[in-house]
């Protein structure tokens, strides 16, 4: 019986584990080693050079330019997305005063959920192509609408202007993400026990006060996790940028290049595999640091309920 059990376990685990080790674990492990070699081109020549790639990376202006864009994205996109999502969620689930005291929600909130959430399932490439054309200076919807409503002077080549390209991309990222976090926060708010809100209302707390002192602390865990998720999503950002701005080198004057694009370019256009892997490791470290930093900085008193 015991023997049968272990044979069964082994038979179930064997194929998936082999697949996982070959295609996932081993590439990650190799990446750390390759990042310490001078491997270039498709020749097999790779020499161990220790941390030299990392030293070069520290003084690589293009890498820091890309890092800077990632930094901006990480600062702006999650903050705006979470703010919008919290606002919309609070409006639909908590703030509506019809029904139970302090809760109940705006009529038709289910309908809004269905609409708001949809961008989350739109493939990134489709969004990229769509918004690449949406911002088109001549035929794009944005400039078209601006001209029709008499704001033609605002029309400009959004993605061709180094100052506007990155904000335009941010707008698309926010467009895609708000719905998901809206649903997430809505369900978190619904799981807060209603008597807490009733007590707040009895104590004479207004909407804003209820939101700041009750709702937000109660769902703080979800907000924290959301920041990390959004940060990781933004750190990648490769597909959207690559498709929206198909200019080689990351937008006008490299004004939108992000680390993942620089990595891809270094590896598959420049053939500098060692250096590209070092960029990958740096990106991974930044991701981990981000997660730790967010957890640390946003730690608050746990609210039990």
């Amino acid at each position: 019986m015991r023997h049968g059990k272990y044979r069964f376990i082994a038979s179930f685990l064997a194929i998936p584990l082999v697949l996982y080790v070959v295609f996932v674990v081993s590439p990650y492990a190799q990446a750390f080693y390759i990042s310490m070699t001078d491997w270039r081109g498709f020749s097999g020549q790779q020499n161990f050079i220790g941390l030299r790639n990392y030293v070069d990376l520290a003084s690589d202006s293009r890498f820091w330019q890309a890092m800077g864009h990632n930094g901006l994205l990480i600062l702006v996109v999650p903050l705006v997305t979470i703010a919008f999502a919290l606002f919309l969620a609070a409006v639909t689930t908590v703030a509506g005063r019809q029904g139970a005291v302090g809760r109940g929600g705006v009529r038709g909130s289910r309908f809004y959920q269905v609409i708001f959430f949809f961008p989350q399932v739109v493939p990134v490439v489709i969004a990229g192509v769509l918004f690449g054309f949406f911002f088109n200076p001549d035929a794009g919807l944005l400039n078209g609408v601006l001209r029709v409503v008499g704001l033609g002077w605002l029309a400009r080549p959004w993605l061709g202007d180094p100052a506007l390209a990155l904000p335009s991309v941010m707008a698309v990222l926010i467009w895609g993400a708000v719905g998901f976090y809206y649903v997430l926060f809505s369900s978190a708010m619904k799981s807060v026990p209603p008597d807490v809100f009733e007590a707040a209302v009895l104590d004479g707390a207004g909407r804003l006060r209820t939101f700041w002192s009750i709702t937000l602390p109660m769902i703080w865990d979800s907000v924290q996790v959301s920041y990390i998720y959004l940060g990781i999503m933004v750190l990648d950002g490769f597909a959207l940028l690559q498709v929206m701005l198909p200019v080689p080198g990351g937008g006008p004057d490299g004004s939108t290049v992000v680390v993942s694009q620089y990595l891809y370019e270094t590896a598959f256009t420049g053939g500098r595999f060692g250096y590209a892997s070092a960029i990958g490791v740096a990106l991974c470290l930044v991701t981990l640091l981000l997660a730790v930093a967010v957890m640390r900085l946003t730690r608050r008193q746990q609210t039990e309920y």
């Binding site: 059990k5 376990i9 179930f12 685990l13 998936p16 996982y20 070959v22 295609f23 996932v24 674990v25 590439p27 190799q30 990446a31 390759i34 919008f84 606002f87 919309l88 409006v91 639909t92 509506g96 005063r97 019809q98 029904g99 705006v106 809004y112 959920q113 269905v114 609409i115 959430f117 399932v121 739109v122 493939p123 490439v125 489709i126 990229g128 192509v129 769509l130 918004f131 949406f134 035929a139 794009g140 919807l141 078209g144 467009w175 708000v178 649903v183 997430l184 996790v225 990781i232 990648d236 490769f238 690559q242 993942s260 990595l263 891809y264 595999f273 990958g280 990106l283 991974c284 991701t287």
Partner: protein, 304 residues
């Protein structure tokens, strides 16, 4: 019918309540009410912001190229359904669509089978190394794919699988495993063990219990994870970009990106937008059918 009969029965007791509530909102002042209108306005604005670009894409797909450039915001004069035919054949969207369908559907079936096998064993059996395997899969969810990209390319190349369906399918399966295992392990733990024990006593083998009893029981969880895997893999761009260099084997996202980049030279924008709509249809269909499950599942996955 049931609604009709129950309505009169509940109506009378509900009336005084409603009156009380109306007094309540009246007492809450007109300021409260204007705030309500105001906040509702935000919801409408965001709904419009979300829907308009997508509706515009559909309209654009039905226009002539000339109309696209002369009146980007108006309705098409004649609905150009021919754009879709041109996208499907001339622009190769048909080929890419079929490629995507083959790769994604086989990958989803494979990852569901292998993932549920791993998850079941991890959830239901004690054995040495269980913790290592479980956390090994969890770790796979946290690392960015970018880190693995360069070595992965050479792994696939050395196996002679570069630019093949089965190569991409195996890679998709491997990268979808961590989430699948994580989600399903949790799910299998919640299933009652009494049935499995009874079947074992009746002489059913370990594998028999899994395939005949546990797998059917786990159907709701399997469907949820299957949908996420479908959406996630249909969305995938980076992996095929690196692993599918051959344009006959392009998947849909790759094909669309190339098509978009080439429009500058060939300028058949209407066919491109028709292609976008075609690529969006399966996602839309899945969303419409399963949207409640998708929303619930995704939010649960994110909180944990």
């Amino acid at each position: 019918m049931t609604l009709d009969t129950s309505a009169p029965a509940t109506a009378p007791p509900a009336r005084p309540q409603r009156r009380a509530r109306r007094q309540d909102t009246g007492g809450a002042s007109t300021g409260e009410r204007t705030l309500g209108v105001f906040t509702h306005g935000f919801l409408v604005v965001w709904a419009i912001l979300v829907a308009v670009p997508l509706l515009w894409a559909v309209l654009t797909a039905l226009k002539t190229d000339n109309e696209i450039f002369t009146s980007p915001w108006s309705l098409p004069a004649h609905w150009q359904f021919g754009n879709f035919a041109r996208a499907w054949t001339t622009a190769n969207i048909g080929t890419y669509f079929v490629n995507s369908l083959i790769v994604v559907s086989v990958s989803v079936v494979l990852v569901m089978l292998l993932g549920s096998m791993v998850a079941y064993v991890l959830a239901r059996y004690e054995f040495p190394g269980r913790g290592i395997i479980y956390y090994g899969f969890i770790a796979g969810m946290t690392f960015p794919i970018f880190l693995a990209l360069v070595p992965l390319f050479f792994v696939v190349q050395n196996l002679g699988m570069l630019g093949t369906y089965h190569g991409l399918i195996l890679v998709y399966t491997a990268y979808a495993l961590p989430f699948t295992v994580f989600f399903l392990t949790g799910f299998f733990r919640t299933l009652p063990s009494a049935l499995a024990e009874a079947a074992m006593l009746d002489g059913c083998s370990h594998a028999g219990v899994f395939f005949r009893i546990m797998l059917p029981l786990a159907r709701p969880g399997l469907i949820s994870v299957g949908i996420f895997n479908f959406l996630g893999l249909w969305n995938q761009y980076l992996l095929p970009l690196v692993l599918m260099p051959d344009s006959d084997h392009y998947v849909l996202s790759q094909g669309l990106a190339v098509l978009a980049a080439n429009q500058g030279y060939r300028s058949d924008w209407s066919a491109l937008f028709a292609g976008l709509v075609i690529a969006l249809l399966p996602v839309l269909a899945v969303y419409v059918v399963f949207q409640r499950r998708i929303q619930e599942g995704l939010s649960v996955g994110a909180i944990k």
